[in-house]
């Protein structure tokens, strides 16, 4: 008996995969989303998905775009390129969306762009990797700040602080690798010498050997490039080893979670971050302040938990897309043209000025440098 049920279940599963042609209402704009909602990069994908859902609801409540309601179709990539490719084809060919937001990580984005380009569907990625928009492809955009800008911001601050020699410690995944490339590539320009470059695994339980080695090389500062929880382990280990030179982190740890994880050890860490973490500290004259306050209020009303800069990438992506949808009557080429012509949009991440040569459109002031003091963020000038 048991076995019969099992066969039945398997058959149902297989049958449910058969083509179903869905009728589509003409007056709805369908937009797609692909985020790493689960898996290793869920800290990115989870707030991004929630933000996209929230924004679409807001836009619809305000009467949609040119009278068209929006419908968001969101799939989980689990951070896996093969799954992201499945999802993107589902969005393009089954759901027939007119534009796609995401994916959350650089490898998944690079995997899907081959398909969106071919299908001529505009894509607004939420990933940081600089490879996404260099070289520029007409159909690919992104809202996250490039690691290029993050490293520039860190080095600028180091130069001001008189730091000449650094040791770097990067996580051995796409994020850390891309950061390492930028750290090594831009060092000379800022008169900084990298004395040692080491790496750690995203799941490492202990990084004291690497830190001890870097300490022995005698740098003026250490830069750690990774996403939670690895850098929190690094911060803890650095404190235990009584390393008293400054520890710089990347924007990848820019969420309250980092302070929670690293505890005491987070104090004194310096990092570049989008302005979202320090909204209340911003000058009232900063045009981003109001945008950020509105976003935070809306997000916290709807979901429990803090906003992070990562959700902000999706916030900007939806707003950029909403702007581009105006007057496009759903034509993908028109949407693309409008996106590229976006000027002066002030978002959660920064001010976007897109051009045919720059599909990210952010300037270095999208980053501020912050230091963690007494378990909270403080602005560095």
């Amino acid at each position: 008996m048991k076995q019969k049920h099992l066969v039945l279940a398997v058959l149902v599963i297989i049958l449910s995969m058969l083509p179903v042609s869905g009728a589509m209402a003409a007056d709805i704009y369908k937009i797609g989303g692909i985020f790493s909602v689960t898996g290793r990069a869920s800290f990115l994908g989870d707030p991004e998905k929630k933000t996209m859902e929230m924004m679409v609801e807001q836009i619809n409540a305000a009467g949609g775009i040119d009278g068209h309601m929006l419908e968001a179709v969101i799939y989980d990539s689990e951070g896996d390129p093969a799954k992201a490719v499945s999802a993107v084809n589902k969005l393009i060919h089954k759901d027939k969306v007119i534009a796609i937001i995401g994916p959350s990580t650089t490898p998944t984005t690079l995997a899907v762009v081959n398909f969106t380009k071919r299908a001529k569907v505009p894509l607004i990625s939420c990933a940081a990797g600089i490879k996404i928009t260099t070289p520029v492809d007409p159909w690919v955009f992104k809202t996250a700040q490039s690691d290029l800008l993050a490293v520039a911001a860190v080095y600028q601050q180091m130069k001001a602080a008189g730091i000449k020699k650094i040791g770097i410690l990067t996580v051995s995944n796409a994020y850390g690798e891309s950061g390492k490339k930028q750290l090594l590539g831009q060092a000379e320009k800022f008169g900084i010498q990298v004395v040692l470059n080491e790496s750690f695994g995203a799941k490492d339980t202990d990084t004291t050997p690497q830190l001890a080695k870097i300490k022995a090389a005698g740098p003026d500062a250490i830069v750690c490039w990774g996403t939670n929880p690895g850098p929190a382990v690094v911060a803890k280990n650095a404190k235990q080893l009584k390393i008293d030179i400054p520890l710089y982190q990347s924007h990848g740890v820019g969420s309250p979670k980092f302070i929670e994880l690293a505890g005491d050890a987070a104090n004194g860490n310096i990092l570049p971050t989008g302005k979202i973490l320090v909204t209340s500290l911003l000058d009232d004259s900063d045009p981003q302040k109001k945008v950020l306050e509105d976003y935070q209020k809306a997000y916290q009303n709807k979901f429990s938990g803090n906003v992070s800069g990562f959700g902000g990438y999706a916030y900007d992506a939806v707003n950029l897309l909403a702007g581009a949808l105006k007057g496009s009557s759903g034509d993908k080429g028109k949407i693309r043209d409008n996106l590229e012509a976006t000027k002066g949009y002030v978002g959660a991440t920064g001010e976007f000025n897109l051009t045919p040569q720059d599909h990210n459109g952010l300037s270095p002031d999208a980053f501020v440098m912050v230091e963690i003091k007494n378990g909270t963020w403080t602005l560095l000038k």
Partner: protein
């Protein structure tokens, strides 16, 4: 010099954790000839249960530790009863897939119970690290090494001194002969499962303060545990223990002296070398059968 000492401290700490994981695997293997690919998930359960019991509910430390170990043991027993014993055709490959499935299941369940975010936990005792030869030794490292030694010693005494323990050894040596002399070998298998899962949980409990705990922390720790058990000799208690320590120290030295990028490869290169040259493991008294 100072760095070398530091590498050693770090290596012994990590190695002790590997050792506890390997001891659990090895125990189970010698009693049931089963390799549990879900073993790493019991480490994760131990760590996360500790987060709930100690950090969230604020239970006293010994009570929380006992609770987390019990959680691991109970889950291990449930797993044995529901998944392993019901299997109709216990060939190695079938059992491998069942345990792999169980691992994925446990990971998924933990993700729903504890969420996707990692947790941190304070050290069991005061924060300051002790300086020896200019290198820092963490109080938690002392905890871990002590726990590993006590655990391995306890199991050793249990196997050598108690009647139940001796019965277990008898089962490991020859199941049929043990059964003929009146030892309930099936019960011994269940006991081994409980102890093994408990060992996993202990590893998780003690490693939680030095690292971050999350639902997906177990897999890689489990794999390193296998390597350690294989290096020391599958089925041998102190072999697994020594294998764990050796692996931890070599990884740490490798990361410090050679390349931190290749650190993870060390365990597996070592594993292959052992398998090719001395499949019985470094510390096995006699050449183990290769099946």
């Amino acid at each position: 010099m100072q760095e070398i000492v530091q590498y050693l401290f770090s290596g012994i700490t990590t190695g002790a954790v590997y050792a506890v994981i390997a001891v659990g695997l090895s125990m189970l293997y010698s009693s049931t000839e089963l390799i549990n690919f879900a073993h790493g998930e019991f480490v994760m359960i131990g760590a996360l249960a500790m987060v709930t019991l100690w950090v969230r509910l604020g239970l006293p430390l010994p009570l929380a530790v006992a609770g987390a170990v019990a959680a691991g043991c109970v889950l291990g027993l449930v797993f044995e009863r529901l998944a392993i014993r019901t299997a109709r055709n216990p060939e190695p490959i079938t059992l491998i897939i069942i345990t792999v499935g169980a691992g994925i299941f446990l990971k998924g369940a933990a993700m729903i119970v504890w969420g996707k975010d990692p947790f941190s936990m304070p050290s069991f005792s005061s924060h300051e690290s002790i300086e020896i030869f200019g290198a820092a030794l963490l109080p938690q490292s002392i905890w871990i090494v002590t726990a590993a030694l006590v655990l391995a010693g306890g199991i050793h005494l249990f196997l050598k001194q108690t009647l139940t323990g001796k019965a277990m050894v008898a089962c490991a040596v020859n199941k049929k002969a043990a059964w003929l002399s009146g030892i309930p070998s099936e019960k011994m298998g269940i006991l081994a499962f409980g102890i093994s899962a408990g060992c996993g949980a202990v590893a998780g409990i003690f490693i939680a303060p030095i690292t971050m705990s999350s639902y997906d922390m177990g897999t890689i720790l489990g794999l390193k545990g296998f390597c350690a058990a294989m290096i020391g000799g599958l089925g041998s208690l102190w072999g697994a223990f020594a294998g764990g320590l050796l692996l931890g120290i070599l990884e740490s030295l490798g990361a410090g002296l050679i390349s931190s990028g290749l650190k993870d490869a060390i365990a597996f290169v070592l594993l292959l070398l052992i398998l090719y040259i001395r499949p019985g493991g470094l510390f096995a008294a006699k050449e183990a059968k290769r099946f």
